[in-house]
Amino acid sequence: MSSNKVLVIGGGPAGLEAARSAAELGGEVILLEKRERLGGTPDRENYAKLTHHWRDASEAMAELAASVTNHPRVQVKYQAEVKGMSGSAGNFEVQIEAGGVAESLNVGSIIIATGFQHFDPGRATQYYNYYSFPDVITLTDLEKMLKEHNVVRPSNGQPPKKIAFIQCVGSRDRQIGNEYCSKVCCGIASKQAIELREQLPDSKVMIFYIDMRMYGYWENEIYWKAQEQHKVNYVKGVISEVLKKGDQLLIRGEDTTMSRPMEVTMDMVVLSVGMEPSAGTRAIAQLLGVKQNKYGFIEAGGEGGLDTVATSVPGIFVAGAAAGPADLNDSISSAGLAAARAMALVRA
């Protein structure tokens, strides 16, 4: 018995868009969300502003969620987890548990949208001392402070005057195992730097980088804006270690275009942590038997490489950052394509 239903796993931006698109294309959609609310990482990690159109993240996620919860053809199951799967394209039998109740779903296609998690800076090979020094924080920690309009040094509750961003923490690193570029951190750091300068106009904000990777319009909309209008300073040469100096932090590295060592004190250091596959992504790949790449993300692209939402299992598609580092634009675009592919399959 074949099913015309589409199962979307994950209620973040990619899952929401996949569910919305599939429903708008006429599909019957079941959306599984592990937590009690939709919105995914932007919601859970308290994102402040989005790089796109500088929108309030909660507001944008709420809109996306509403378009799904208000849709008559989408059924959302909260506190839901996949427990097992059998069958094949057009006719999958998926065992789940939602709100503590086990049930079996018969669906024609599956879209995985289980996303990413931020790199744990404790794993960095450099001595950034995230877990030792309170004033060493991550992009996600800062994002929360920015959202609350309360950017202060955790050590003393005072607003920082000198703030350094360190790029590529946990990305582009063979020793760590994450050889890829996480794509978004240059843009996010620059976005946060602008917000910092807006919220703390007297602060000096510096970004230390290996390469600034501001692809597409991020170049002119974020990078140039940060430098030209908000006077954020960029220095090529990433920091090798963060030490304690009095009640401040001492960042040490090389200023490469000057070919000089640097030892500069900062009040706060922000680690631009990259993306890794979320625990959910790793688990679902195992459960559904889809191939993962060497970094644990779900391998997408199909045989020719251009089937960008296809997984190794026919009928199972992947959307968003479950397939690798992606920003919101990427995630939402791939979600739309995954919905189209999933619908084409159940209608055939």
Binding site: Y223, Y234, M258
Partner: protein, 425 residues
């Protein structure tokens, strides 16, 4: 500049400290290289000056450095200035402030439109206002301009003395008391400098042979002061501008022809901001327009291999690359050869932006003069003659061919070459 260079070992051969001889490596020390503080405020200091805004926009691509004529003979370049400022250099107090010739080659390639042609004059003006160091020779040129109406410090009453030996009558507009077609603004160097006078005399003969109805301002003519403006003396420039515009407007004329590209830049691009908007052309553009009448006059072959140096303020600043070449190619016998850097990418002679009056200062911060580098490039083409079209250049390049052992390369203004062909040697 040592502060921004690589670590240097400092070791005195003979030194006695408190009566103890520590000659030799006992006293060896190294200069500090570590950056202990970043100083974004020193970038802001420049960007906050009107005109200096784009200084803060540099993203360190370094395209400017390779095309910067000063870096070719030293260690310089707009992107470095940004980094120096970010690491402690106050540009208004640094020698770097005075090295830029405003040649605009960096701006030509800059993806972020960092405009040193605006930044440098703004920062220099600030330095002057704040009483910071100004190269004394530049200060002298400013004073000469203010006192005598020209940077050479020559008396105003002698400004038209050169016409006595021009070989043709050179009418003074005041004496004509009638409208003319062409008001020829001669310029300070063509009026006073011996080699400039050669070019001015040649121009007078060419205009006469072409039957141009022209006149000059004579003793009423004063310097355009555009280079003084670019060197930071905006006040002086405005004073001269006020006088010049009033003088130009006293008489009736249809078009102004200027001998120098700097004057062209002043009258055509800057004076409009002060209310003067009338047709002004460089002599090469003007003569190229009369090429059909000019060609039959060029009777005598000039059998020379000639290379042409594009003046920054004629080429990059005003887009005229073809007229000078058309004129040279109209001379029978001339073989025109190009240097590697030409037209939009032409190398600078070092005379612009006040560089004309800072040669001794610049020499302390460069390995050779820009004009010497260019003279060597000209010589390497095998040319017999380095042709120029800017009154700053003849004297600069004549010195440069000598100092680099290339005396066999003659330096001649295009006017002189045309005149040679017209009259024979």
């Amino acid at each position: 500049m040592a502060k921004y260079e690589k670590a240097k070992a400092i070791e005195k051969e003979n030194i006695v400290v408190d009566g103890i001889d520590v000659s030799g490596h006992w006293n060896r020390m190294f200069e500090q290289r570590t950056i202990f503080e970043y100083t974004p405020e020193l970038i802001e200091k420049i960007a906050d000056i009107p005109g200096g805004e784009s200084f803060a926009n540099c993203y360190q691509c370094a395209k400017c450095v390779a095309v910067c004529p000063v870096d070719v003979v030293g260690n310089y370049g707009p992107r470095k200035l940004y980094r120096y400022a970010q690491t402690g250099m106050d540009l208004t107090e640094a020698p770097e402030l005075w090295l830029c010739t405003t040649c605009a080659n960096c701006l030509r390639v800059c993806p972020k439109e960092v405009n040193m042609v605006k930044i440098m004059p703004a920062a220099r003006e600030q330095a002057i206002l704040d009483g910071k160091f100004v190269p004394p020779e530049l200060q002298q040129a400013f004073e000469n301009t203010a006192k005598s109406g020209n940077p050479l410090g020559q008396p105003q009453r002698k400004r038209d003395a050169w016409i006595q030996n021009a070989g043709v009558p050179v009418p003074i507009i005041k004496d004509l008391s009638r409208p003319v077609d062409v008001l020829w603004y001669v310029g300070s160097y063509p009026s006073y400098h011996p080699r400039g006078i050669d070019a001015a005399s040649a121009a007078a003969r060419i205009f006469t042979a072409l039957g141009i109805d022209f006149a000059i301002l004579g003793k009423e003519e004063k310097d355009d002061a555009d280079s003084q403006r670019l060197a930071g003396e905006k006040g002086l420039f405005e004073m001269m501008t006020e006088y010049n515009i009033a003088t130009f407007n006293k008489y009736e004329w249809k078009e102004m022809v200027v001998t120098g590209p700097h004057e062209l830049n002043a009258f055509k691009n800057v004076y409009p901001k002060y209310g003067f908007e009338r047709p002004v052309v460089h002599y090469t553009t003007f003569l190229a327009r009369h090429l059909d009448q000019l060609k039959p006059l060029l009777k005598h072959p000039v059998n020379k291999k000639i290379t042409y140096h594009d003046p920054c303020y004629l080429g990059r600043h005003n887009g005229e690359y073809e007229a000078p070449r058309k004129l040279l190619q109209a001379i029978p016998g001339v073989e025109l050869v190009e240097m590697g850097r030409n037209r939009e990418n032409g190398y600078c002679c070092g005379g612009g932006g006040g560089g004309m009056w800072m040669d001794s200062f610049t020499a302390k911060h460069t390995t050779m003069r820009l004009s010497e580098k260019r003279a060597m490039e000209a010589a390497s083409t095998g040319a017999d003659v380095l042709a120029v079209a800017c009154p700053f250049e003849v004297s600069r390049f004549e010195d440069a061919v000598k100092s680099t052992g290339n005396e066999h390369v003659g330096v001649l203004d295009i006017l002189e070459l045309l005149d040679k062909s017209m009259r024979g040697e």
